[in-house]
Symmetry: C2
Subunit: 333 residues, 2 copies
C-alpha cells in the first residue's frame, strides 16, 4: 500500500481485564514452559515462584530504554560463590549508569541470599538487575520513579559437554565492539552481544569474539577470552575496553599457582589479533562457562587443535575455589 493511502478500519482488538491477563500469562508459560525457581521484585514487594507472575511494568525504563544494569552469581552446593566481587561490579555499573541503588548494599545481599533460599535451588544461577523504574516513556527517569531491584534464581545454563572435551570454535564477529565506557558497564544494552552470538551460530560457530578498532582482542558474547602464548604466558586483554569479568579476575589470581608448572607467567596487556592467533591455547572464561577451551578461531587452528593443559588446570582451580574457597556464602534454605 502506498504511503499516502489510508488503511482500512482496524479489526476490533480484544479488551482484557485482570483475570484475562492472568490467564494469558499462564497460557504463555504452558506453551513455552520455563524452569525459574524464584523471582524477587522490589516492585511486587516479595517473591513469586509461579513463572506466570514474574512480570514487570512495561513502562519501567529498563524495558523500553535499557536503563538497567545486572550481574550474576553462581550457586554451588547450596552456597553462593564470589558474590561480593559481583556486587562491587553491580554497584559500579549502577553508578556509571546514573541509577539510584535500591537500598543499601547489605539489603541487596540479603535479598539475593533470601531469594536463593526461597528457590530451593542448590546448584544453579542467580541473576539480579537494577532498573530506573516505571512512570513515563521519556528518557530520563520519571518523577517519583522507584528504582526496581529484581532477582531470579534458576537451574543454570548448561553448555555442551563437547565444549570441554573437544573444544569450541569461535568467529570474529562482524559487529562493532561497544565504545569502552559502555563495554565496561554491565548494562542491559546487550544487543551487540546477542547479535554476535546469533551471527556465530548462523555461521556454524559456537560463539563470537569482538575485536577493537586498534585490532586488539576484545571479549566474547558474554565471556572473556584469554590465551597461552607459545612460551607459556597466560595473557588476558586489559579491562579498559571489555567487561572486567569476575571469573577472569579471580582466575588471574589463582593462575599464579600454575607458574612454574604449565605456565611461565601471567600478563594482562593489549593482545593484537595476529599475535593471539599464534597462541598455544585459547579459552573463554565466565561465571557459568567457567573455562572452555577454544580450538579453532575463524580459519585458524589454535595450538594443535585440541584442548590444552592450561584450560584444564584453570578450570580445576576454579572449580576448587567454587567448592571450597573462601568466597562462599551459605544459603539458609
Amino acid at each position: 500500500m502506498p504511503p499516502h493511502e489510508t488503511s482500512p478500519p482496524a479489526p476490533p482488538l480484544r479488551r482484557l481485564d485482570a483475570a484475562d491477563v492472568l490467564a494469558t500469562l499462564r497460557a504463555l508459560r504452558q506453551r513455552q514452559p520455563v524452569a525459574y525457581a524464584a523471582f524477587y521484585s522490589s516492585q511486587l514487594g516479595g517473591i513469586v515462584t509461579d513463572p506466570a507472575l514474574m512480570v514487570l511494568p512495561f513502562d519501567d525504563h529498563m524495558v523500553h530504554r535499557g536503563h538497567g544494569v545486572f550481574d550474576t552469581a553462581g550457586l554451588v552446593d547450596g552456597r553462593i560463590y564470589d558474590l561480593e566481587a559481583h556486587l562491587d561490579r553491580f554497584v559500579a555499573s549502577a553508578e556509571r549508569s546514573k541509577l539510584r541503588v535500591h537500598g543499601t548494599r547489605q539489603h541487596l545481599r540479603d535479598v539475593i541470599v533470601g531469594t536463593a533460599a526461597a528457590s530451593g535451588v542448590h546448584n544453579g544461577a542467580i541473576r539480579y538487575w537494577l532498573s530506573s523504574g516505571p512512570g513515563s516513556f521519556e528518557l530520563s527517569p520519571a518523577a517519583g520513579a522507584e528504582p526496581g531491584f529484581f532477582v531470579v534464581v534458576f537451574g543454570g545454563l548448561s553448555y555442551p559437554e563437547r565444549w570441554y572435551t573437544d573444544g569450541l570454535r569461535v568467529m570474529t564477529t562482524s559487529y562493532p565492539i561497544k565504545p569502552p565506557l559502555y563495554a565496561i558497564t554491565k548494562a542491559t544494552n546487550y544487543l551487540p552481544n546477542v547479535l554476535m552470538q546469533m551471527e556465530a551460530r548462523e555461521h556454524g560457530f559456537d560463539n563470537g569474539v569482538f575485536v577493537d578498532p586498534d585490532g586488539n582482542v576484545g571479549e566474547g558474547s558474554n565471556m572473556n577470552v584469554a590465551f597461552v602464548t607459545d612460551d607459556g604466558v597466560l595473557r588476558h586483554p586489559t579491562f579498559d575496553h571489555v567487561l572486567a569479568g569476575c571469573t577472569s579476575l579471580r582466575l588471574l589470581e589463582l593462575a599464579r599457582a600454575l607458574v612454574g608448572t604449565v605456565l611461565t607467567g601471567v600478563e594482562v596487556c593489549p593482545i593484537p589479533v595476529a599475535q593471539a592467533r599464534q597462541a598455544r591455547e585459547m579459552f573463554l572464561i565466565g561465571s557459568s562457562v567457567k573455562v572452555a577451551p577454544v580450538v579453532a578461531w575463524d580459519a585458524t587452528t589454535i595450538g594443535d587443535g585440541h584442548p590444552g593443559p592450561v584450560a584444564r588446570a584453570l578450570r580445576e582451580l576454579l572449580e576448587d575455589d567454587m567448592r571450597q574457597g573462601d568466597r562462599l556464602i551459605p544459603v539458609p534454605y
Copy 2:
C-alpha cells in the same frame, strides 16, 4: 564486611500469590500515577487500559538483553501522522536486530490503528515495540520464543513552551556516540541517550548533542540536529551515523519550499563541529519536539541568541503537514 566473611541469615522475604501481585501493581500506580490510555500486547492477546495490567514477562529478552526495537507515530486530531515511514524504519530496525516480525506489516498497522481507536486519544503519542520474546535468560532467543509486539498510546510528551519562544540550550555530551550500525538502528539500547540527557540536565542545559569520532555533529538524545549556515543553507548531518529521523527526512523534503525565501539551499553532509558553531540557526528535530530552536551550544551563542525564522517556518510546514498533509491515517474510534 570483607569479602570472605559470610553474610548473616537473610530475613524471610514475603511470598506472593496472584492476588498479591495484582494488588501491589495497583498500589504502585497509586503511588506514582500514570496516564496511559491503552496498551496492546501480543503476549496478552489484546488491549488493557488499566495501567496496573500493562506488564510483560521479566524474561522477555527485550527486558534483560535489550533485544527489542521500537518506533513512534504522532496522533493529531484523531489521525496518525506518517505511520508508513515509521513502519519502514521499524521493520528495518527489526531486520538489523535479527528480530522476527510478529505477523505481517498490515497486521502491525491494524493493531496500531486499533489500539489508537481503543485509547480514545485524539492528540498524543503512539509508541510500539518488537521483542524477541520470553523463555530463557540466555543471549539468543529462547527455543519456541514468540516475538512480542506491544503498542502504547498516551497523551504525548510536552516540551516547555520556552523552548519555542526563547530557544533551548544544549551541551556536547561527554558520552561516546554509538558505533554507526547501532546508531542507525532504533533498538531499546538507549543507555547512551538516557545518560546524555541526564548529564545535560545536571549541567543546567536542556539537552545534549553527540559528536562523532571524526569531530562531526551527530544527533541529540532522541532528536536530530540541523543548522542554517551563514549563507542560508539548511544543513543536516548524513544518516550513516545517526538515526534517520522520520521528521528530519520529511522536513528535508518540505524545506525545499523555503528555498528562495528564508533558505538558499538544502544539504545533507558531514558537519564539522567548528563549522556548525558558526551557524546562523540551529535546531532539534523530532516527531514529538517537532522543530525546536537552539540558541546556545556549550559556551557558543548560536546566531543572535534568539530563535530564527527558519526554525519557525519549518515548524509551521511540519504542523501543516501533520494536520492536512497526505500522510494521515484516520483512526476509527
